[in-house]
């Protein structure tokens, strides 16, 4: 397979997750992948919980991902033919919440994403911390690793890397949809550095998907009314954080 064929395979998968611990360029890899995917598929919508800026593209609609209501099936229909970027997704899909109403929006991903042709590109550190159903749904896992090591001191390594313009990583792709076939894509992420904010902290999503709100209303009617206000504050907070992060991108 040449690089384009490999990338085409990645683009064709609905759920692609970047994994690995700090400093592996997971978020940067997501930024690069979405850039290439937009270019290749000509999609014009991105919904993301981390700010991304692609000055090279016009007609591109980037929407912040701030609440779980955005996963309701009727809401997903508004995002047809889009790419969703979900950085540090274990924050919202923590494995220990698997049996609670909080995670009940996940089945919508398995239904809505394919029907509405939405591609999910996410990242997380350890797969065991991820909600089980989400883990089973993922179609491809990519672990980025630097090709060259400049220094064992991470800070020093980063400085040399920037001066050498070398953020070349090897994406170790495991295609779970195709019998765990494994292939590698080598890419220099340096040109994508200015398209995302490395210091941005994605806040957890406000939990207000319809099933959760219905359950809350049934069980704690008085609290559910108060919860609506709490949620709207949380949504505002998330949006402010997101827009602040976007402004920090040069």
């Amino acid at each position: 397979m040449d690089e384009l064929q490999k990338l085409n395979t990645v683009f064709s998968r609905f759920i692609v997750i970047f994994g690995g611990e700090y400093g592996r360029c997971k978020s940067l890899s997501e930024t690069a992948l979405v850039f290439l995917e937009l270019l290749h598929t000509q999609k014009t919508k991105v919904i993301t919980n981390m700010p991304i800026k692609y000055p090279v593209f016009s007609n591109l609609e980037i929407t912040p991902l701030v609440e779980t209501k955005q996963f309701d099936l009727n809401e997903l229909s508004k995002m047809k033919n889009s790419i969703m970027v979900w950085d540090e997704m274990h924050n919202d899909l923590f494995s220990r919440n698997f049996n609670t109403e909080k995670n009940k929006f996940i089945p919508n991903i398995s239904v809505g994403f394919r029907k509405d042709n939405i591609k999910l590109r996410g990242s997380l550190q350890f797969f065991d911390t991820l909600e089980k159903m989400m883990g089973l749904m993922m179609e491809m896992v990519i672990i980025p690793s630097f090709v060259t090591k400049y220094s064992s001191d991470s800070e020093e390594d980063r400085k040399i890397r920037i001066s050498n313009k070398d953020f070349t990583v090897s994406w170790e792709c495991t295609d779970k949809k195709n019998n765990n076939e494994r292939f590698y894509i080598k890419i220099n992420l340096y040109p994508f550095l200015k398209m995302y904010n490395t210091n941005f902290k994605p806040y957890t999503l406000a939990v207000n998907h319809s099933e959760y709100m219905e359950r809350l209303y049934k069980n704690k009617k008085t609290y559910s009314e108060e919860y609506v206000n709490i949620c709207s504050e949380k949504i505002n907070e998330n949006e402010t954080n997101w827009r602040g992060g976007l402004e920090e991108i040069p």
Partner: protein
């Protein structure tokens, strides 16, 4: 006649490019070293190993010789060869060569070249080996996705 609904794969509006030369620069920089080094997939490794072994055996000096290498030994030689691409120690290369030569001198159940080559060709990619999650992958994937 009913109006044709747009297909799911057809974007409603076209993605525009604001600066074509910047785009070209980004892409050329991103894939500048894609073919030189970096990860090689398992099928590539297997193929390179097979080519190396075939090239050694097709050397006229050895063409009529026999081999007593077992499947495990061939695997070991293959592993040693690829590890030595990293460690780059001449002694290991010599050790591999002399081991192959020593094996040729054994006469118990000798294999001819043709059967040896057919074994390599038939071996292909070991699907079980590829499915084993080892090292980095298993550390991050854990049990969640199996």
């Amino acid at each position: 006649m009913a109006k044709k609904e747009p297909s799911q794969n057809e974007p409603v509006q076209q993605l525009g490019i604001t600066d074509e030369s910047s785009l070209k620069n980004i892409l050329s920089e991103a894939f500048s070293g894609a073919d030189s080094t970096g990860g090689k997939d398992d099928s590539y490794k297997e193929l390179e190993t097979a080519k190396l072994i075939i090239a050694t055996f097709l050397n006229p000096a050895y063409i009529n010789s026999t081999s007593n290498l077992s499947a495990e030994e061939i695997d070991d030689i293959s592993d040693a060869y690829y590890m030595n691409l990293i460690f780059d120690d001449e002694l290991i290369d010599k050790k591999i060569t002399s081991f192959i030569e020593l094996k040729r001198s054994e006469t118990k159940e000798p294999k001819n070249l043709l059967s040896f080559l057919s074994e390599i060709a038939g071996k292909g990619i070991d699907a079980n080996r590829m499915n084993q999650n080892n090292g980095l992958i298993s550390r991050f994937i854990g049990n969640r996705t199996r």
